[in-house]
Amino acid sequence: MGIRLKKLKGKGTFQRGVHPPGRKEISADKKIEIMPAPGKVILPLLQNIGAPCKSIVKPKQVVELGEKIADSKEFISAAIHSPISGTVLKETTVTLPNGRHVPALPIRGEGTQLDGQNLWDRLYGGEWPKKFDGKFSPTEISDKINEGGLVGLGGAAFPTHVKIAPNPKKQVDTLLINGCECEPYLTTDYRLMVEASEAIISGSILGGIATGAKDIVICIEDNKPEAIQTMQKAAEGTDIQIAALKTKYPQGSERHLIKAVLDRIMPLGQLPADVGVAVSNVGTIAAAAGAVLRDTPLTHRVVSVTGGGIKNPKNLLVLIGTPYGDIIEYCGGLTEDAAVVTSGGPMMGFAFTDFTMPITKGTSGITVLTKKDTKKAKETACIRCGLCVDVCPVNLIPTRLATAARHRDSDLAEKYNITACMECGCCAYTCPANIPLVQLIRMGKVMVIANRKN
């Protein structure tokens, strides 16, 4: 599969990065299954980057599927809707896998739920128009997206209506739809592209209208030929281009995607809009199509449940707020040699042990790794082999950052631009001495930011 970038300037790849084993075959061919609604969902009130939401329902109130239950007045925030028909219970606190304690609303399911094929048809199935002929104005689209409580489904969970909106100050000329899914193991976006390509195309066109972008490019790594073919077929008759990019981690990072496709450099501290680009995940854009055309808020999402430590790996359409334990049980439970359960993929995911916690809007998968997968040797001294420097996609010097952080040398860490690190994990992946570079750098960042405030 060659690099097909017709009119685009980029080279289809970026400098540095790593090639971890993809292991996508574990769940790549599993069709998206619709998981039956659990008895109870727990909805954390902070599921996005930005301001947390406040509950707008009372305990014991009866809510319907899709009813708004929490909202915020802040601009960078996204409303939360009930994924289930039932009764609201008393507000509690949950600890998410990333370690944050957030208030959450549990809802007990009651009565019959929209389920199975009907649910699929409502969210992704059926006909999706490819032409709108001025039916929606840009603000209308972004308002509807806001109303639907959409956030980036790739993992970062940045409120979508902020990105997919007319921006008079910074003119956006290109909309990139990110279907790279560079994280190993995960197949969420891949399955969506194969099974819900129509919705993605429809959403992309709407996104193009909202942002005013002339070019729309769907970016897919070349290890997913089937997705590329399906998307090409679905895009026939539109101006949407499909770009096949070289497989490399972290290709899915906004910054690197923009570099690879458009050859534009997005400096630190700037947003894609500053270089005239909007980037959105394929899952997000499909959900956006639903929010605009069918008024379906973000209540369900697709997650991959994969890895060698799960009995039956699956791709599931689940309710947001479903406890991890229920999902794992639905997939047959863990195998005997399962060692680590992570929320997200193995590179950037977080390990967790409390299976009563719920998945959120940003959970792209559950990866269960076996002991064999995650074994490593003991940490030894750095021998300055420079491998971390060779792979750092943001051009930092991880080993020096880690040394500065280890010795609490805030000035040195700041001098080496520690805050530019995006914690992709390439350095720790490649380090032969098994130095926990990501942890040290994370620690260093906290230290530097605390020092700045003083």
């Binding site: 040394t403 280890r406 010795h407 040398d409």
Partner: protein, 202 residues
């Protein structure tokens, strides 16, 4: 021309004033913690050396050397026993001038050099260069080049040392050797590496 460049290369590499003769060690060890300071002090030493060596040459050859005062009618006068005192006076004066200049143009460098700036006056490398210049019978031009070359050699050594010490900043050096101890060991190893050039005859 060839002679001059030989003298220059000789004084920078083969007979590095610091690593071959171990002159100027005190400020070398003390001010090599930071590269920027080391570069500043290095330039100061180059400047002082390039000026004092030829000035001392003039003083020696027209005032102090045996028979130097013949122009004033004292052909038998030999004041060479005064050379140590005279050289130090010249050096001290020059250092004062430089100190004022650095204070005027770069306050940051001035404060980071601290007490070591006036101490250049008693930096053995400076006096040593003047004495070598006498011993080796350099001409005026040669002594200028020699002074400059010695300064460059000294600066090279201290900048290398500063870079090494920055690398060693978080090394796990045994307790008793921290600071000056490890610096002296590194100096020794540096001198060994510089023996690469010993034996080259230019």
């Amino acid at each position: 021309m060839g002679d001059l460049s030989n003298i220059f290369l000789n004084s920078v590499f083969v007979g590095n004033i610091l690593l071959a003769y171990f002159l100027g060690m005190c400020s070398f060890v003390a001010v090599s913690k930071n590269i920027d300071t080391a570069i500043g002090l290095g330039f100061a030493v180059i400047f002082v050396l390039t000026i004092t060596t030829p000035v001392n040459w003039l003083i020696y050859h027209f005032l102090l050397a045996p028979g130097a005062l013949s122009w004033a009618g004292f052909p038998d006068m030999d004041l060479s026993y005064l050379k140590l005192v005279m050289f130090i006076v010249v050096i001290a004066t020059m250092v004062q001038v430089i100190e004022m200049m650095i204070d005027r143009f770069s306050a940051a460098l001035y404060s980071s050099l601290g007490v070591f700036l006036p101490l250049i006056a008693v930096n053995c490398a400076i006096l040593g260069t003047s004495l070598f210049m006498v011993e080796r019978n350099h001409t005026f031009l040669e002594s200028t080049v020699f002074g400059f070359g010695s300064g460059v050699g000294w600066m090279l050594a201290i900048v290398l040392m500063a870079a090494i010490r920055m690398k060693l900043r978080y090394a796990d050096v045994p307790k008793g050797l921290e600071g000056y101890g490890i610096t002296m060991i590194v100096t020794g190893l540096m001198a060994m590496a510089f023996m690469l050039f010993s034996g080259i005859t230019l």
